[in-house]
């Protein structure tokens, strides 16, 4: 099939950026979206032009490194699919596709469609873990976790950190990402001791990184390639609110 691509080209973070138009006369329907861009890039290199910069790594929909907006849809219009797993059979002959990077203040553009998502790492740094060191934990089966809680925790944990939730949100909020991590750990007994402080710290960091707040629009959940639900944001809110009320300052100079 024949496709026209309008791709956002931006040399670096300072450049203003613009769309560039490319005609692709022979796109196979079995190609993945990124393979189509590979083919385009090979052509551009052949013509002595700079190829389109975009991130990808596993190309199996699990590493979360790929992602840009296709015709207004983060990762393209196919639900529950990262752009690396999006196949061209979902598009039709003669279509024009507009490709833009995920846009948010917290996600500065590096080049073309590649962006810097390290703000998400810093949200995890604020408390997205169970504070235990390696070595000497008790037997795994001494911690019982009900299947339902475990499954729900796994639903939350399946976030791949791609940032599509931020890209889709009119407020550029990373609440689904943050709520996912808070829920993954908060639903398990292992994460219970730090549940509230984790929510307090991660929500604060989320805000410090320049993301917007959640206004329950639901675009994030629609865009999420792993199907994370708004439930996790509600859980984040709940833990945050409970934390605000019950939080106690640590006793100074406590044991050592």
């Amino acid at each position: 099939m024949r496709l026209t691509l309008e791709i956002w080209r931006q040399k670096d973070a300072q450049d203003a950026g613009r769309f560039a138009r490319y005609d692709l006369p022979e796109v196979s329907e079995h190609m993945s979206f990124l393979e189509m861009l590979d083919v385009l890039n090979q052509e551009l290199i052949g013509k002595g032009e700079e190829p389109v910069a975009f991130d990808s790594d596993c190309r199996e929909g699990i590493c979360g490194m790929c992602g840009f907006v296709v015709n207004g849809y983060p990762h393209g219009p196919q639900p529950l699919t990262t752009v690396c797993q999006l196949h061209m059979r979902h598009f039709h002959d003669g279509e024009t596709l507009r490709l833009e990077p995920f846009r948010a203040k917290a996600f500065p553009v590096i080049k073309d469609l590649a962006i810097d998502r390290s703000a998400l790492d810093r949200i995890v740094m604020a408390g997205g873990y169970v504070s235990i060191n390696a070595g000497g934990p008790r037997d795994a089966n001494s911690i019982l976790v009900g299947k339902k809680e475990s499954d729900l925790s796994m639903d939350a944990a399946s976030c791949i950190g791609c940032g599509a939730c931020v890209a889709a949100c009119p407020n550029a909020s990373a609440s689904l990402f943050t709520g996912g991590k808070i829920s993954h750990l908060g639903l398990l007994p292992q994460g219970e001791p730090e549940r509230k402080t984790r929510a307090l710290n991660m929500v604060t960091r989320h805000s410090d990184e320049g993301f917007g707040g959640c206004t329950v629009i639901g675009a994030c959940a629609e865009a999420c390639p792993k199907g994370l639900k708004l439930d996790f944001i509600a859980r984040m809110n709940k833990d945050y609110l409970a934390g605000t009320v019950t939080f106690r300052e640590e006793a100074a100079g406590g044991g050592g």
Partner: protein
């Protein structure tokens, strides 16, 4: 021996309330709670105003009662004003914050699946705020530049006069529809802001919120409609 352990201590050492208010989750909580208060006012106000259908005497008596029941009215006014200020401040700040969070807009608009009400909260909210000011000037204070024939104590007559003005009917009706929109998202999303969401209840809450929004709009619209159709007349 002590080894390094991650500190999950409080984020900042300032007042808990200030931290809470500064956080987006905290603001949404305030927004939800004050929203509920304002919603109760909207319902109460409607119940009172419905008396317009019972004629001038009844309606004016109600108005007199309110003006004399200072022990009820003033605390209510103060609480509602505080709720309104907090609600509007939180909403506007969150909206400004969202704009800051995406300084470079998309060139191709996002294909959002969002409901129209959820995307327009700031606009329906601002409309409501503007309406509120106008409405107070029009029918409570009776400012001459808004309501020329205003007569203090004659609430029923003033009401009818207002809705005999075509422009005001349009503005009131549009505002009422806006409030309906605002409520249909607000009554659903406040649960989320309070931390409650459930696969069984949330879809129901969403439907109920929409119904309440639509119902309140229609109910309020009956008043100007009543004047226009002559059901409410001098």
């Amino acid at each position: 021996m002590s080894v390094a352990t991650a500190s999950t201590a409080a984020p900042v050492k300032v007042s808990r309330l200030a931290v809470f208010w500064q956080s987006q989750v905290g603001k949404k909580f305030v927004s939800a709670v004050t929203g509920v208060l304002l919603f109760t006012f909207v319902v109460g106000h409607l119940l009172g105003n419905m008396q317009a259908f019972q004629g001038a005497e009844k309606f004016n008596a109600y108005a007199h009662f309110l003006q004399n029941a200072k022990a009820i009215v003033w605390p209510t006014r103060i609480i509602m004003l505080a709720a309104l200020i907090l609600h509007a401040t939180a909403g506007i700040q969150l909206w400004l914050r969202s704009r800051e969070a995406r300084p470079q807009p998309y060139r191709v608009p996002l294909a959002n699946p969002a409901t129209p009400s959820s995307k327009t909260m700031i606009w329906t909210g601002l409309l409501t705020l503007g309406f509120l000011v106008f409405h107070l000037l029009d029918l409570t204070l009776g400012a001459a530049f808004v309501h020329s024939g205003f007569v203090a104590g004659e609430a029923y007559q003033n009401l009818v006069a207002t809705f005999r003005n075509f422009g005001k009917v349009i503005f009131y009706s549009a505002s009422i529809v806006g409030i309906g929109f605002h409520l249909s998202h607000g009554l659903y999303s406040l649960w989320q802001s309070l931390g409650f969401r459930h696969p069984l209840w949330t879809p129901t809450i969403m439907k109920v919120a929409l119904l309440v929004g639509v119902f309140l709009s229609i109910a309020y619209l009956t008043i100007p409609a009543g004047v226009v159709t002559g059901l409410i007349r001098l």
